[in-house]
């Protein structure tokens, strides 16, 4: 149906390693008290979903993500410095420090936005798909979300619309087995998510999120189909290595379960495959990992050094520049108290 691009595993590995490395630094940022707030959701263990799907996209394509979206955006080509600065709530961040970890966005890279409402960003890709179809633009829009969002009604409404209108849209469920403390089998009786999408008329597949090549290959097919007007759904099974947020020590799951889950490590698996297949060797990979670690250390330094947003940013961007803006409380009080 589609033509397999010959994407080297090495590239996918690098993307995944960058994500892993970045997320480790995000944890550090938090521990050092430099993050803006505690709402930090690490995607360690989910790197293959991010790398595999994003590798199947073209520059004109777009996407939305959930609250655990750092990895996806990095896979898309984000600048770790500006990401880290955003997570630290700094003016040099992607969203000028107003969005933070859960609301990173970058229109230049087709990132229509991370969302802190579970399921909140899903319908936006339906609208993007409508645009592309309407404007005759050759682009696909992808919604990334977690297994938890599989129980949000808006997903079904969105999938139904995409199927009905044959939109260039792909729904990607990153099933890391947990929504906060709730294992997926405590959230639903049937965990075969692809069947649900299929019943609505989407092309639906599942992929093993430990195997980045498998993810890439499934995504490539589905993205190509979506581009042709056959919207799809991809469930990627993986494991959330750490707690839901930074303060969650996952007391609701056993040490054995965690150990087994963390064995499903897409980064290590790709690394091992590179060595086994002779596409790289330990020394080269060590060097790569080190270079990435340095890049990410720089990102954290950048974020730490960056300036917070200026006070007047508070009233900016509620509406477009030049449009009537909300009156600051102090200005109102000045008026009222002067009058009284």
């Amino acid at each position: 149906m589609t033509q397999r691009a010959n994407l080297p595993l090495f590239d996918l590995y690098r993307t995944m390693r960058r994500i892993r490395s970045f997320e480790e630094r995000v944890a550090e940022l938090y521990v050092r008290g430099l993050s803006a707030g505690s709402m930090l959701h690490l995607s360690i263990g989910e790197e293959a979903a991010a790398a595999g799907v994003c590798a199947a996209l073209r520059p004109a394509d777009s996407f939305t993500t959930h609250h655990r979206g750092h990895g996806i955006f990095l896979a898309r080509g984000a600048d770790p410095k500006r990401m880290m600065a955003e997570i630290a709530g700094k003016a040099e961040g992607y969203c000028a420090g107003k969005g933070g970890s859960m609301h990173i966005a970058d229109m230049a890279l087709g990132h229509l936005g991370a969302n802190a409402i579970v399921g909140g960003g899903i319908p936006h890709v339906v609208g993007a798909g409508l645009s592309y179809k309407h404007l005759g633009k050759d682009a696909v829009s992808v919604a990334f979300f977690g297994d938890g969002a599989m129980q949000q009604g808006i997903l079904y409404e969105s999938m139904n619309m995409a199927a009905l209108w044959a939109l260039p849209v792909l729904f990607v469920c990153v099933n890391n087995q947990y929504g906060m403390g709730t294992r997926v089998d405590r959230a639903t009786r049937v965990t075969d998510f692809a069947a649900r999408a299929g019943a609505l008329g989407l092309l639906a597949e599942s992929a093993d999120g430990e195997d980045v090549t498998a993810v890439f290959s499934a995504a490539e097919t589905l993205v190509a189909e979506a581009r042709g007007g056959h919207p799809g759904f991809l469930a990627i099974s993986c494991f959330r290595f750490f707690g839901h947020g930074r303060m969650d020590k996952s007391p609701y799951r056993s040490a054995e379960e965690e150990e087994a889950g963390r064995k499903r490590d897409p980064v290590l698996r790709a690394r091992a495959a590179l060595v086994t297949r002779g596409e790289s060797d330990e020394a080269a990979l060590d060097a790569l990992d080190l270079a990435i670690a340095r890049e990410m250390d720089d990102a954290i330094d950048f974020a730490a050094a960056a300036a917070p947003p200026a006070f007047d940013a508070l009233f900016r961007d509620v509406f477009a520049p030049g449009e009537p803006a909300p009156e600051p409380l102090r200005a109102r009080l000045d008026r009222v108290l002067a009058g009284a």
């Binding site: 992607y94 107003k98 936006h124 609208g127 993007a128 808006i154 009058g339 009284a340």
Partner: protein, 330 residues
């Protein structure tokens, strides 16, 4: 409706359709998306026949999926279209407040000003058809309380036309609430007449004894009250706010400061609604000029009953305004 003549007898409904028609002709990015907006022509007939002119790629009939309708409009607005999403009844806001208030209203801000959401959410509200508690509300209060949203509530056919035309050029999300009891209201509209800018209130009737501040259908109720008050020798000024965001307090404050008495009239529930905001602002800005407290006449704090007599009693009428003003001045 003949788009060549500028002066014509036009209903509120036809004025809205004309606005959509002209704007869609001018701006190919405009699409209309919602339940029954296409073949059916809209539950209240506003989009009637537009599908014949613009086709079903621009008048998009949707499944009954309000959250996704608004969500899809947001995504479309972020990627180059200018969607008009239609919510059949404002009562369904409860289904879409997440997409409206957490998404559309906040996207520009959360994303640091990178992008806006130039969409219009058209809907209609109010009493008048005995449609019951879930189809008769006036929920503009929820919208007005949400930063990031513009809010227009036209009372006249001319405003229905001009405000919608204007809304379709704004860079930010606009909630545009029509009134179900006004659709059939006819009026001589001069489509070429100069238009007050977006966000500017108009004085519909001048007076010296009391200032009645209203919007949407309540403008006509206030005008009817003013007429009856005139018979008693009381002259009421009637201000039509036209938009609630922005809110033109300059016009209101100038009038109230001169007159010294204000009654605000809203069909929405009294408590913590638009009437409260208007009363609070007028009290703040005209404190030294007020001879009486600002009086709020608004919807009772009860669900709207279906019985026609009770329904009518649940919202303000001219008699109550007349009686109240007479007592204020008595």
């Amino acid at each position: 409706m003949d788009s060549d003549t500028h002066l014509s007898e036009t209903t509120y409904r036809d004025a809205l359709r004309r606005a959509l028609d002209e704007s869609m002709r001018e701006d190919p990015r405009i699409i209309v998306i919602g339940e029954e907006v296409g073949r059916y022509g809209g539950a209240y007939g506003v989009t009637k026949d537009l599908i014949d002119k613009f086709g079903d790629a621009r008048l998009i009939d949707t499944p009954i999926s309000e959250p996704a309708i608004v969500g899809a409009a947001i995504g479309a607005a972020m990627t180059g279209l200018r969607p008009v999403a239609e919510l059949m009844y404002v009562d369904f806001l409860g289904l879409v407040m997440d997409q409206l208030a957490n998404q559309a209203a906040k996207i520009r801000y959360m994303f640091g000003g990178q992008i806006g959401v130039p969409m219009v959410l058209r809907t209609q509200g109010g009493t008048g058809r005995s449609a019951g508690a879930q189809h008769s509300q006036s929920l503009e209060g929820w919208v007005m309380h949400t930063p990031g949203l513009r809010l227009a509530m036209p009372a006249t056919a001319a405003d229905a036309y001009h405000l919608l035309r204007h809304a379709l050029t704004l860079p930010d999300p606009v909630v545009f609430i029509e009134h179900k009891a006004l659709y059939a209201r006819k009026e001589l509209v001069d489509f070429a007449a100069p238009v007050p800018p977006w966000g500017q209130a108009v004085i519909r009737r001048a007076g010296d004894d009391v200032c009645l501040v209203a919007y949407s259908r309540m403008v006509h109720v206030a005008l009817a009250a003013a007429e009856r008050l005139a018979e008693r020798g009381i002259t009421a000024e009637v201000i039509d706010l036209r938009t609630l965001n922005p809110l033109d307090m300059a016009t209101v404050a100038a009038s109230v400061a001169r007159i010294g008495r204000a009654v605000v009239v809203s069909e929405g529930y009294l408590t913590a609604g638009v009437a409260a905001e208007l009363a609070a602002r007028i009290s703040e800005e005209c404190f030294d000029f007020l001879e009486d407290p600002v009086i709020r006449i608004a919807g009772e704090d009860v669900p709207i009953p279906v019985s026609p007599a009770l329904e009518a009693a649940a919202v303000p009428d001219a008699a109550l305004i007349v009686e109240t003003v007479a007592r204020m001045l008595g």
